[in-house]
Amino acid sequence: MMRLNAKLGLLVALLFAASLMAGKAWVPPEAAWSGDPRWTIVTQLRLPRAVLALLLGGVLGLSGAVLQGWLRNPLADPGVLGVSSAAALGAVAALVLGAGSQWGVFAAAMAAAVGAMALLAALTWRAESPAAFVLAGTVLASLAAALTAFLISIAPNPYVVAEVIEWLMGALTDRGPDDLAHAAPFMLAGAALLLGTGRSLDALTLGQDAARSLGVDLRRLQALVILGTGLSVGAGVAVTGVVGFVGLVVPHLLRPLVGARPSALLVPSALGGAALVLGADSLCRLVPGPGEVRLGVAMALIGAPFFLALLLGERGRSWS
């Protein structure tokens, strides 16, 4: 367990260093002390971006592990609560309605994410079964997607539409220290709440009644999951756009290595998510051509085939 965390930590450190060096211009480590002007690229552009990638991957992996444990379903990810779609709606609203400053987009996305989580909590407050959350989350996500499409359709000019579409694709391109300063406190606070769920999730493995008889307060757990996911993933989406699949794929890959105990999966999933996003973002920058592949697109290209393989595997196991 400790060894796995150490290995993943080392991988994250290596990928973080690579993320500082890799790009259209390769900056060698010795630039740090040789007065190389390219070092400015590292400190001004790549460092905040790498830290953001680290945090984004961390909260996506962590929240995926928590949600899979909470819903006791290996196919769950932060998207099932509708938080990503709601944050995207907020950001698009800011862009279309003319409040598209960096701070305006972040504030609108964050407000929409937290608002959606509050609505979800209110809708499902008396619900015993996690299925109610999935249903309510799916409805919220669909509603947010429909409203997003509506906003795009009333956009004042094609430039705004282009801006919205680019934002929706999800990327760390050009994200700077300000974005990091906006999002990091929420992401860290949300992650701290999610890390507090481990033992309750373990108990939930035995079902709701057994968990409650072991002293787990399911309502408190529910509040931690919703608030933790809302803050961390909401803040992530608010600065990077929608980046999917990390929360689904990473816990699933690591589960066999930790013995399937939900609490044992939390820290490895955070580290694994950070490694995946750091690595993918570096690759995005290295693809030849004038621009960059969008991170959200790259993740979907990696994640969709994996998801299908997962579904086929599940079908083989439980339906046959």
């Binding site: 079902g207 057994a210 072991l214 002293g215 013995g259």
Partner: protein
């Protein structure tokens, strides 16, 4: 410290499942809860662990309402084994058993985990994954999980459901041992002969109400059992004093 249901009424949705149930359970004894399907046996156990709210009355442990007890204190005092034997992730047996230590803030390293593994004869496969086990092995692991908490009360809902005869007898012996060690054991069973063999007392429920409660031999009479289950029942007493109880035919066919 007695566990007492006092005028307990429980409603699930619009249906009243338990109606004004009063019964006292003493520590160090095995009480078997019997009754037909839907008589309220599982609900009584769930109310005992404060998993369903009482519409009226209460369950008290040592004079304190279990529903109002501090959660951790209640979890330490009352171990509950649900009927549902699902383990949602394919965890290691030792990790599953160690969940019983949660109310004590402990984990896999606790000596109580090893004691529970040894008592349920599950130590041999402690390192295996729970989904690789047979249904009977898994049932014993889940029983070990409750025993690992070393609660003062054990409320077990049909713990024999997926066990073969040998392991049923072993599980019953475990319940007896737990009671001999001072634990109060309240267990829902369906097999009348086993109920007679293991119990000091029997609580017989019918339609959410207490039909009879007391020492096994006074409660498990043909008349009481016929009234509770709607079947004709023959009670055979063997030379060693053990009772064999056979349902012979449905009572409605008799009339």
């Amino acid at each position: 410290m007695e566990l007492i249901a006092e005028g307990l009424t429980v409603a699930l949705g619009r249906r009243t499942v338990l109606r004004d149930v009063s019964a006292a359970f003493a520590p160090g004894r095995v009480t078997v809860v019997l009754g037909a399907n839907g008589a309220g046996k599982s609900t009584l156990l769930r109310a005992g662990a404060a998993l369903v709210p009482a519409a009226a009355g209460r369950v008290a442990l040592g004079g304190a309402d279990v529903a109002a007890m501090p959660v951790r204190e209640r979890a330490q005092a009352i171990g509950y084994l649900p009927q549902d034997a699902a383990v949602h992730w394919n965890m290691r047996v030792r990790d599953v058993v160690a969940l019983g230590r949660l109310p004590h803030g402990g984990g896999v390293a606790d000596a109580a985990v090893d004691r529970a593994l040894a008592a349920t004869r599950t130590a041999d496969f402690a390192e295996r994954s729970v989904r690789d086990l047979s249904g009977g092995e898994r049932a014993r692991v889940l029983l070990a999980r409750v025993l690992a908490g070393e609660p003062r009360w054990l409320l077990a809902d049909e713990p024999l459901a997926s066990l073969d005869p040998l392991h049923q007898l072993e599980a019953l012996a475990l319940l007896r041992d737990a009671a001999a060690a001072g634990m109060g054991v309240v267990v829902v069973l369906h097999d009348l002969t086993q109920a007679a063999a293991v119990s000091d007392e029997v609580l017989l429920l019918k339609d959410g109400q207490v039909l009879a409660h007391g020492p096994t031999e006074t409660v498990m009479t043909p008349d009481n059992l016929a009234a509770a289950y709607g079947v004709a029942v023959e009670v055979l007493v063997r030379a060693d004093g053990r009772r064999v109880i056979v349902a012979t035919e449905a009572a409605r066919q008799l009339s």
